[in-house]
């Protein structure tokens, strides 16, 4: 039986003698493996990104949006607050409104919240303090509002004017004292919640009074632990539905309810579904590339077998067995595959790094990517080599030697 070391030396020598051909042959594998590696890395980076984003809200976050006006009132807020497992709940309303500071006016998201919002959304305060439910005309500013939005920086104890538009077309302007400025945080767009850096928070009661309404757009809440979030959110859902007169048989039917409730676990799950679908799609494309690549290797190996027919006869005359010949040719095809795999892995890592940097997500390279690229290419090389190697091994030595 042929020594694998020598089989490697012989196979490698034969690949080296046809560098251009081998490189072109490997190209299919390079592209396929690069696609798989880049795909896995980009998927992992996005997952990490979303998880981090949601993590800044706390992992036990529940958010409820009303689907219509006049659904949510204080009764519902109290009901949520009193659900076992809930540690804080806030009502919210929101309007994009003109905000004036020192005669400059800007359109800014104004968010009415309860004092619990600080705890629920992990709103870190850099200067001053957060609003309380007793406050009236005070505002807490996102970092960007205070430092970038206006010509002059706004600091605590400055005053701003906020103009709120009512449904009846009239508008009302009030002067607000800046009570606090938030610490800068990464985006939280994933939840559909406000980007805290460019939001002004005011007491919900004040905003509702200016809006001349008593209902709320929704609630945010937080549970005591991440483990209980699904259970508690189900309980909140059940209580809300019952209180709003949703028939018991419709409790599992989201369309029968005038609101939507999400929790962190569900949001992550939905993101996973999206990323998984994306991953499956690209994996299919990569698979096609790999199949094409392996057919390329097989094709070249068949050409090689024909070209080296007399060599194969010679090897047989000097005592090489069928298994020896099979090992030699499969080795050659695996080496082409692995070279393609190594180049493809490097290309995939570099490519995904560029894409991830461009999209602004932190690149994540799971360690197993290296092995994944390697094993795929060994496997593809192996599969591609079987048929040509068998063909070579089964050549009749007399005929093969006669071949010129």
């Amino acid at each position: 039986m042929i020594d694998l070391r020598y089989a490697f030396i012989l196979a490698f020598g034969s690949i080296r003698s046809a560098k251009l051909r081998s490189t072109l042959t490997a190209l299919g594998i390079i592209i396929g493996v690069a696609a798989v590696v880049a795909n896995v890395s980009i998927g992992a980076s996005f997952n990490q990104y979303f998880t981090d984003e949601l993590g800044s809200l706390g992992s036990n976050f529940i958010i409820i949006y009303s689907q219509d006006v006049n659904i949510f009132y204080d009764t519902e807020l109290e009901l949520i607050r009193n659900t076992p497992g809930i540690e804080g709940a806030s009502a919210f309303n929101q309007q994009t409104a003109p905000v004036t500071y020192l005669s400059a006016t800007r359109q800014i998201d104004v968010q009415g919240v309860s004092e619990d919002a600080q705890y629920i959304s992990n709103l870190g305060v850099a200067e001053g303090s957060f609003l309380t439910d007793k406050d009236k005309y005070v505002a807490v500013l996102g970092k960007e509002i205070a430092t970038e939005k206006f010509d002059k920086n706004i600091s605590v104890k400055n005053y701003i004017d906020i103009t709120i538009k009512r449904d009846d077309g009239t508008s009302v302007t009030r002067k607000f004292r800046v009570k606090g400025i938030l610490a800068s945080e990464d985006n939280t767009f994933v939840t559909g919640g406000p980007d805290r850096d460019v939001t002004i928070y005011v007491p919900i009661a004040t905003l509702n009074e200016m809006l001349n309404v008593t209902d709320y757009g929704g609630f945010s809440a937080k549970t005591g632990s991440a483990e209980s979030v699904q259970e508690v959110s189900d309980e909140v859902d059940k209580r809300l539905a019952r209180a709003l007169g949703v028939p018991t048989r419709d409790l599992d039917n989201d369309d029968a309810k005038p609101y939507r409730i999400f929790n962190q676990a569900e949001i992550i799950e939905q993101l996973d579904t999206v990323t998984n679908a994306f991953t499956i799609l690209i994996t299919m494309i990569a698979l096609v590339a790999l199949i094409v690549g392996s057919i390329g290797i097989m094709n070249i190996m068949l050409v090689t077998v024909t070209e080296r027919t007399s060599e194969i006869g010679l090897l047989k005359s000097m005592g090489y067995t069928k298994p020896d010949i099979i090992v030699l040719f499969i080795m050659e095809s695996i080496i082409v595959g692995v070279i393609g795999g190594i180049l493809g892995t490097v290309l995939g890592l570099v490519g995904s790094y560029i894409v991830e940097t461009y999209l602004g997500v932190t690149p994540v390279f799971p360690f197993y990517l290296i092995f994944l690229g390697f094993f795929i290419s060994v496997f593809v090389g192996l599969i591609a080599g079987v048929y040509p190697a068998n063909k070579a091994a089964n050549l009749n030595p007399v005929e093969a030697l006669r071949h010129e």
């Binding site: 039986m1 042929i2 020594d3 020598y6 089989a7 012989l10 020598g13 034969s14 080296r16 003698s17 007399s310 060599e311 010679l314 090897l315 047989k316 005359s317 000097m318 005592g319 090489y320 067995t321 069928k322 298994p323 020896d324 009749n396 030595p397 007399v398 030697l401 010129e404």
Partner: protein
């Protein structure tokens, strides 16, 4: 019908061919090439096989070298019936007991002279043999100790054939089979190659050589004539 008259238990009969028949089949049509050949070659003999083109010399040599199986009769090598062993055992027999030398040198162009000589040992190595040392010794024996690193393309025809002879000896085989080893060489180079074979013969090697050249008769112990697949008279 018999090959060797005495069935020596000491394996003195390197080749013992009895009633060997070989036919090729063109579709269903049987084309007989060898019609029942008996041949005995003893240890240490240097035998030339001569005959017209197409008479079946190479076919006979392929049978002796276990590259093909007979249609009828049997080939005994070193006392072993080659009909009775498997393909893999035949390959091993070729690797250890037979060294081939071909007309067209048959070297691997990608490998150096030294690596070409070593090539048979990658698959079959005799226990305890210093293969690399032996490869160098053999290249020295054929006068190529200054050409070990050369690729076949960098060697002359005669030098390539010397490499092939060195390669045929690497596993210290019982039998050298040479099919027109000087067929592609000029007469001066042919003499040099024949001197090497003579030398090997004097050292006790068993050599069977196919040739067209009557000049070669002077080097050998015995000439076997083949005509239309039959052994003729000496």
């Amino acid at each position: 019908m018999a090959g060797c008259n005495v069935q020596s238990p000491e394996l003195n009969n390197v080749i013992d061919i009895q009633g060997l028949k070989k036919s090729y089949f063109l579709g269903n049509l049987e084309v007989p090439i060898l019609h029942g050949i008996d041949l005995c070659i003893k240890k240490g003999e240097f035998v030339a096989i001569m005959g017209p083109s197409g008479s079946g010399k190479s076919t006979l040599m392929n049978m002796i070298g276990c590259l093909d199986r007979p249609t009828g009769g049997k080939v005994m090598l070193m006392g072993r019936d080659t009909n009775a062993i498997t393909d893999n055992e035949l390959a091993e027999l070729r690797g250890f007991e037979i060294g081939f030398v071909f007309q067209n040198f048959s070297l691997i162009p990608r490998l150096s002279a030294y690596e070409n000589v070593l090539l048979p040992t990658y698959s079959n190595t005799k226990d305890g043999m210093d293969t690399s040392g032996r490869a160098r010794d053999l290249l020295k024996l054929v006068g190529l100790d200054d050409r070990t690193g050369h690729k076949p393309a960098e060697l002359s025809g005669g030098q390539r054939q010397r490499v092939a002879i060195a390669r045929s000896l690497i596993n210290d085989p019982s039998l050298i089979l040479a099919d027109e080893p000087t067929g592609n060489l000029d007469s001066k180079t042919s003499v040099e190659i024949m001197d090497i074979f003579s030398d090997l013969h004097k050292k006790g090697r068993t050599i069977v050589m196919i040739t067209h050249d009557p000049e070669m008769e002077q080097y050998v112990d015995r000439v076997v004539h083949i005509r239309d697949g039959n052994i003729g008279n000496n």
